[in-house]
């Protein structure tokens, strides 16, 4: 039946013309030539359908319609291509570099600090800062370290050549009790000094976190700096127990490090009794032992203990009535473990190539 060969001829004709159509105008011409309602050759074929014998009419109709759809799709595709090739005025290469909006980074130690502050804040702790220069009474004596106490050797102290006035603390700086105003004579060796200031000002119950800088007479090396950052924590109330300390650390350390195991190891600090080092399971080796954890499967993360009765006595609390726990944690240690930093000095060089590795 010759009519079907007409369809094929028409298709071949379209393909040949499409191949040379390079502009919108060419495509419009093609559209008119094949699909125009009045003069299009495909339209003309469709109009002939009544002349096709009834038996072939169905097949003929399908073939012509298929051709029509095919031409429409081909024209549309070519139009898009032509448009893409001839960008409109003002078009850009959108793959070019953007104009930089400089945004700085928060120091990794402060990232850690903010995270820990938030964890404890949600547990109902007051977060406050204390003075960095302190006197012997608040830094040592009231913390059960009288002069000549051997434990003073654990913290080699930097002393001031002249006494100065220490910084204010908390929201209470303006109303510091006269008894607490002493000329500062040393750089605090731990944030524990704030335990004394706080307890001498406020009655129990207490739950506070004191983040801040502390100083030791240490040389700078891979794992030591003469200044570092600490958190002090103190919880005092009626019936606070070592079991509470355990629960608090498990909750806190899991929020900070993810799914880790927590263990307490007996230790010694003059201002707590019993005292405990707190370890988390090593994440590098999942507790099986590796270089990071010195093949023990555990990483020491903080020092803690039940507040020593002598400390309560120094601040005028009755150790028969209240108990409490205290702890100190180094921010560098946390940041080193969390971010895989193996040289503590990186935190104090402030190299942008280091700082910029932390997300905005």
């Amino acid at each position: 039946m010759s009519d079907l060969s007409v369809i094929e001829a028409l298709r071949a004709d379209f393909r040949a013309r499409l191949a040379t159509a390079g502009t919108d105008r060419d495509l419009k011409t093609l559209d008119d030539q094949f699909l125009s309602r009045r003069s299009g050759s495909v339209t003309a074929l469709l109009k002939q359908i009544a002349t096709v014998p009834a038996g072939e009419r169905r097949q003929f109709g399908q073939l012509v319609n298929a051709l029509k759809t095919e031409i429409e799709a081909a024209l549309e595709e070519r139009r898009a291509a032509v448009e893409a090739a001839h960008a409109p005025a003002g078009a850009m290469d959108v793959t070019l570099a953007s104009r930089e909006i400089p945004i700085g980074r928060i120091h990794p130690l402060m990232r850690v600090r903010q995270q820990v502050e938030d964890i404890f804040s949600h547990m109902g702790y007051e977060i406050l800062e204390g003075p960095e220069v302190e006197d012997d009474y608040h830094n040592f004596e009231a913390l059960n370290m009288p002069p000549d106490h051997p434990a003073r050797d654990m913290q080699d102290t930097l002393y001031l050549g002249v006494p100065i006035v220490g910084g204010t603390w908390g929201a209470h700086g303006g109303t510091l009790p006269a008894a607490q105003v002493r000329a500062a004579t040393l750089l605090r060796t731990h944030t524990s000094a704030m335990q004394i200031r706080y307890m001498k000002t406020f009655p129990p119950p207490i739950r506070i976190i004191v983040p801040g800088r502390v100083y030791r007479r240490d040389n700078l090396d891979l794992s030591h700096t003469p200044m570092f950052q600490q958190f002090e924590g103190l919880v005092v109330g009626h019936g606070v127990t070592l079991a509470d300390l355990k629960g608090t650390f498990e909750a806190m350390l899991r929020q900070l490090f993810g799914d880790v195991k927590v263990r307490l190891r007996p230790s010694f600090f003059p201002y707590t009794e019993p005292s405990a080092e707190v370890d988390i399971s090593c994440q590098s080796c999942a507790g099986s032992g590796c270089g990071t954890c010195k093949h023990t499967g555990w990483l020491e993360i903080l020092g803690s203990g039940m507040v020593h009765p002598a400390v309560f006595e120094a601040v005028g609390y009755d150790p028969e009535q209240v108990t409490g726990f205290a702890f100190g944690m180094g921010m560098e240690r946390v940041a080193m473990l969390k971010y895989g930093v193996d040289d503590i000095r990186l935190f104090y060089e402030n190299d942008l190539r280091f700082l910029e590795q932390f997300p905005l």
């Binding site: 400089p102 977060i127 100065i164 739950r207 509470d244 608090t248 010694f268 003059p270």
Partner: protein
């Protein structure tokens, strides 16, 4: 404390591997620094080897236990063994049994000393003996409560291999049989001893006294030491021969030709030894034990052990009696332990049987009392002075891991967060958004680096700095920040913006909090669409304004005279009339002193947060209704003298226009063609608006006329 496993097993029959032992003991309070393997001290058959301890082959593990400062009683093999025994429920065995020792004189001994306390020896009763050739005179019983001495005839040589191997494994160098025996006793029992060459003493007399003024002593390390009258010394009839509890003297040192010795086994006052050791800068195995607290009950046992070992290894024989002077008896402490208190502190009750097992095993004597126990504390336990110390012992060996996990009850409303912490977070947000990264730098610095920022007399020196680099407290946050900038600059960074929030210190103002920024390089980063722009004064000034705005304070700038900032590029930052900070470009001299290239322009600012917060105090945020009437903007251009500042022009305009003027900003500043020399053209947008009506052209024009007249009048300004 390095503990060879073979030595430990002689004292407690523990079968565990070194690794398992390390794991167990580290959760009993003895962290393990490491395990080494020593080939030499491997078990061997010595006269001391004990039946029942399996002979192992291969290198002997040496476990390095960390002994906390409160536990001098564990600075010995027996001390560690006692802890292991309690941890594993094993018996503590006496060390290789010493043969009988010649008599012990009992004169001058405190009643019951050495008897009430558990001795590691089963046959520890004193014996009567022949008259002593040795005289001991304690002149200061407070500093030396007890001194035990004995004389022995000796032949100096090497100690046996087994003894040398054990000493070496534990970290002590073998010297000679006699010195090795004293060190062996030190390691085994934890009691420091000393041997004097008897013929080198002025007679068989030991005086325990404080040093005489200007007395000198050459110690064993060959150093001549100037002694002072608060130091305790051991002396013969004429001169000091040892610094008590610290180090012996070179003149009475045991040498290869020594034939007779005086052995010392004493108990010295811990504070006195500590002070002397610190003053002399001399730390020894002996001083470390005495200053933490030796056991006053141990000197006789230690002496007996030493004499027995000397005889055992064939180094000599004791001569005459052991002399024990104990003028100041130290009684064991009695403590009450209440059952209820254990639970109150630990959050779990511990069965009585465990309390008895643990405390009994550690050598505490328990007697039942109404609510718990009356407990006698062994004198070696200097750490146990209150009930809570006993509870720690119970908790330690009961196991922290067996305590329940609970959470402290919240019994009061959580207090507010410290405003300084809220402030720091706010500033971090503002400054990072302005492209600044946060630095953390040290609180101390070198004096030369600090001097430009404050008068020398206002610096706070550190009395005992580790180095010149940390000689003074920082009077400003800037020097450290500039160093950080220079550090980055040396590492291929050109565009650097850093800030720090922290304390600074001066004599006059004490400790104050500040925020500082430093900026060098591009203000607008380079981009393919056009070249970038280098930072200038007005970029850093904007940062200062934003920082102060974050605290809630409007600030203005006035020319400054800070010598470390470049003239014409420096300003004081003022809020009300208070100076809250400075801003400007570093002088090239200062930049150069921090190692910055001279081609760099470095802009810095520092703001005192405490002054700023004082000004902002009490500020409440209240909104004002949005304007209901349109505003009118007029431009004005005036030619003024160079010396007239924009601030002056603005003040005059505000003064005239009053409340109608809602906004004023400079949009052009021009010098050059068409403007006379020494003068400048300044153009400003002025926006007027009334809160209660639409302003008419006439009203605005009338105000503009007044402004122009005032500018002419006050600043000789000419309208362009």
């Amino acid at each position: 404390m390095k503990v060879p496993l073979s030595w430990l097993r002689e004292l407690v029959p523990v079968q565990e591997s070194a690794e398992a032992l390390a794991r167990t003991m580290s959760v009993r309070g003895f962290a393990v620094e490491g395990i080494e393997y020593d080939v030499e001290s491997s078990p061997h058959s010595t006269s001391n080897a004990r039946a029942g301890v399996p002979e192992t082959t291969g290198p002997d593990p040496v476990i390095d236990f960390e002994v906390t400062a409160n536990r001098p009683d564990c600075m010995s093999m027996i001390g560690i063994a006692r802890e292991v025994a309690v941890a594993y429920g094993l018996p503590l065995l006496p060390p290789g049994r010493p043969p009988a020792v010649p008599g012990l004189s009992t004169d001058d001994r405190g009643a019951g000393a050495g008897q009430a306390l558990q001795s590691v020896f089963s046959d520890g009763s004193p014996q009567a003996g022949p008259a002593t050739p040795l005289e001991i005179i304690i002149e200061d019983a407070d500093l030396c409560p007890r001194y035990v001495g004995a004389v022995a005839d000796v032949t100096i040589g090497s100690s046996p291999d087994w003894m040398q191997a054990r000493l070496r494994a534990a970290g002590i160098r073998p010297i000679s049989n006699i010195v090795d025996v004293t060190n062996y006793v030190l390691l085994e029992m934890g009691h420091p001893m000393h041997a004097f060459d008897l013929p080198k003493l002025a007679g068989a007399q030991i005086h325990v006294r404080t040093a005489r003024p200007d007395e000198m002593l050459k110690t064993l390390d060959g150093q001549s030491r100037a002694l002072s009258p608060e130091m305790l010394v051991i002396a013969d009839a004429e001169r000091a021969v040892a610094v008590a509890g610290v180090m012996g003297g070179a003149d009475s040192e045991v040498t290869s030709s020594t034939k007779a010795i005086v052995l010392e086994s004493a108990y010295f006052n811990p504070v006195s030894v500590r002070r002397t050791s610190k003053t002399l800068g001399l730390k020894t195995e002996a001083s470390m034990r005495f200053e933490r607290g030796a056991d006053p009950a141990l000197p006789v046992d230690a002496m007996r052990r030493a004499v027995a070992l000397i005889e055992l290894i064939g180094a000599g024989r004791g001569r005459g009696a052991v002399v024990d002077r104990y003028p100041k008896l130290i009684e064991p402490r009695m403590l009450r332990l209440r059952r209820s208190r254990i639970g109150a502190l630990l959050g779990a009750s511990v069965p009585d049987a465990d309390v008895l097992r643990i405390l009994g095993g550690l050598g505490f004597a328990l007697q039942d009392a109404d609510d718990g126990w009356e407990i006698t504390v062994p004198t070696r336990r200097v750490d146990t002075v209150r009930e809570v110390d006993l509870i720690e012992e119970v908790a330690r060996h009961y196991g922290f891991d067996r305590l329940p996990v609970t959470f402290p009850a919240l019994t009061s409303a959580p207090p507010p967060v410290d405003p300084t912490i809220v402030r720091a977070r706010q500033l971090r947000a503002v400054l990072t958004a302005a492209g600044f990264s946060e630095a953390v730098t040290f609180g101390f610095m070198s004096e030369p680096a600090a001097i430009p920022f404050v008068s020398t007399g206002d610096l706070v020196p550190i009395a005992n700095p580790l180095s010149e680099n940390f000689a003074v407290l920082r009077p400003s946050v800037l020097p450290g920040l500039i160093d950080a900038l220079a550090h980055n600059r040396r590492r291929e960074q050109r565009d650097i913006r850093l800030f720090e929030i922290g304390a600074r210190f001066t004599r006059s103002d004490g400790e104050r909090r500040a925020v500082a920024c430093a900026w060098t390089g591009m203000a607008a980063p380079e981009h393919w669409s056009g070249s970038g722009r280098l930072v200038d004064f007005f970029d850093i000034k904007s940062v200062v304004e934003r920082v102060c705005e974050a605290v809630g304070v409007q600030v203005r700038t006035e020319p400054s005279s800070q010598a470390w900032l470049t003239p014409g590029q420096r300003a004081d930052v003022l809020a009300n009339e208070a100076r809250v900070g400075v801003v400007g470009q570093l002088t090239t001299t200062l930049a150069d002193s921090h190692g910055l290239p001279s081609s760099d322009s470095v802009y810095v600012a520092e703001i005192d947060l405490e002054t700023l917060e004082q000004i902002a105090a009490g500020r409440v945020v209240r909104v004002t209704p949005l304007p209901r009437y349109p505003s009118v903007t007029r431009d004005i251009s005036v030619v003024i003298e160079n010396s007239v500042t924009a601030a002056e022009i603005r003040r005059t305009i505000q003064d005239i226009a009053r409340a109608l003027l809602v906004r004023i900003s400079e949009f052009d500043r021009y010098q050059g063609k068409g403007i006379p020399e020494g003068r400048v053209s300044l153009s400003l947008h002025l926006t007027f608006r009334s809160s209660d009506r639409t302003l008419t052209d006439e009203e605005v024009q009338a105000t503009m006329d007044l402004i122009i007249a005032a500018l002419k009048d006050r600043h000789r300004a000419v309208q362009r």
